[in-house]
């Protein structure tokens, strides 16, 4: 009797898993078709990086599909569209979270912003993500694939990615609002406000405390200056 119940439970779990896998994979062919319709020279590179991102849960297929569909509707030439996709692909290849970048690009497309301006805005956020990730590493805050595999001091990659994404987004918003990168305390205020408001919802309070205890105003100034100095990728 008990054995039958265990078998039924396993069968049910396997069905659920199979269903979830089918659902997750359902959008990928659609994404690939939409990407092919753009006829970009770097299509293979973009597809490969995006598929890595899907498998690592750093980007949802639906988000990517919205971006590609938005690009296909947008007026403009192929190289500019490819430029936006290559920035996202580069972030995914570097193991960075890409949802924020895709969302920014989709917003630009919806607003009818010129493709070059969208590319510049997305590129700046991508550079900020790189710098923020490096800052967290320098502050001995690392990421691990899963919670079980996380050594002391390391966060599961989803939590680490959420920190990188939110800090970079807060810095980008500060800069877009006309803030100076030299005002380190204002940068720190912006980051503190963002993390504190998200503490207990999308960010665990202990992660927020960890970051705020280790970063200083000067660190953020360096992050922003480095991001602004780097050549466009």
């Amino acid at each position: 009797m008990t054995r039958n119940r265990v078998r039924s439970a396993f069968a049910f779990a396997a069905l659920l898993l199979a269903g979830a896998t089918c659902l997750a994979a359902a959008g990928i062919p659609e994404f690939e078709r939409a990407l092919s319709s753009l006829a970009l020279p770097g299509e293979a590179e973009i597809r490969q990086a995006f598929e890595v991102g899907f498998s690592q849960n750093r980007l949802e297929v639906e988000e990517a599909l919205l971006l590609v569909e938005g690009l296909s509707r947008a007026p403009g030439n192929g190289p500019e569209k490819q430029g936006i996709l290559l920035i996202v692909a580069g972030a995914l290849r570097d193991g960075l979270p890409a949802s924020m970048l895709v969302s920014k690009a989709c917003e630009g497309l919806a607003r009818g912003v010129p493709l070059l301006a969208i590319e510049q805005g997305v590129a700046q956020r991508a550079r900020l993500e790189v710098e923020v990730r490096d800052l967290l590493y320098a502050k001995r805050i690392f990421s691990a694939p899963t919670e079980a595999a996380a050594p002391p001091g390391a966060l599961p990659s989803a939590r680490f990615d959420a920190l990188v994404s939110e800090i970079a987004d807060a810095l980008a918003d500060y800069l877009e609002g006309g803030g100076s990168p030299l005002e380190g305390y204002l940068l720190l205020d912006a980051v503190t406000l963002r993390l504190t408001k998200l503490s207990g919802t999308v960010l665990p309070p202990q992660d927020v405390s960890l970051v705020l205890a280790r970063i200083e105003a000067g660190d953020l100034t360096s992050v922003v200056l480095n991001a602004l100095d780097q050549p466009k990728k």
């Binding site: 639906e62 971006l67 969302s103 917003e107 919806a110 607003r111 805005g121 918003d173 207990g200 919802t201």
Partner: protein
Amino acid sequence: MSADSLEEALRDTLHQEVARERPRLDGLEKCVTTELAGRLPRLRPSEAFRRLLAPTRGARIGQLAVVTATAVLFLLVGVLLAGKVSPWREPGLRLTAAGAGDARGAAGVLFIMPAPGAKSVAVVGTWNGWQATPLSDSDGDGIWTATIPLAPGRHEYAFVVDGRWWGQDPLADEVVRSFGEYNSVRYVGRAGDGA
């Protein structure tokens, strides 16, 4: 010798005496505590606990321990219960003084846009890839509304009134610049919803 001068001489003598003996007095307290600690019998934890609860020798301390443990237990239960029923975990719509809604549960976040005479009003945001979700004005009073279920977190958005973007919602928690224009922000969840 007058009484005053005698007292003064006596005080001076005492000060000199204390100053002379200071090196010996400095370590006196540490000396005494070390000596006393050495003389006390060392108890194992089980023995100490047994003595604490003994009816004859430690009756009062034992009672005190039981009362304290009970109080701590009640406090823990209270804290746990408070966590279960705290307001930010309560599902459903909750209007704040600012009029913003809380999106946990099925009810969602309430978006309000006064636009008398408008033909169409929609809201676009980070939650839907900046695709338009229409607002409705069923009674025709010019106040367009929509209630949208949103996950906890930070959501940027703007209204689109007859095709024109409007990103400065007075009910927003924040307003940020984006592509040279404005976006409103709602925080949904524990620290957000305009509270």
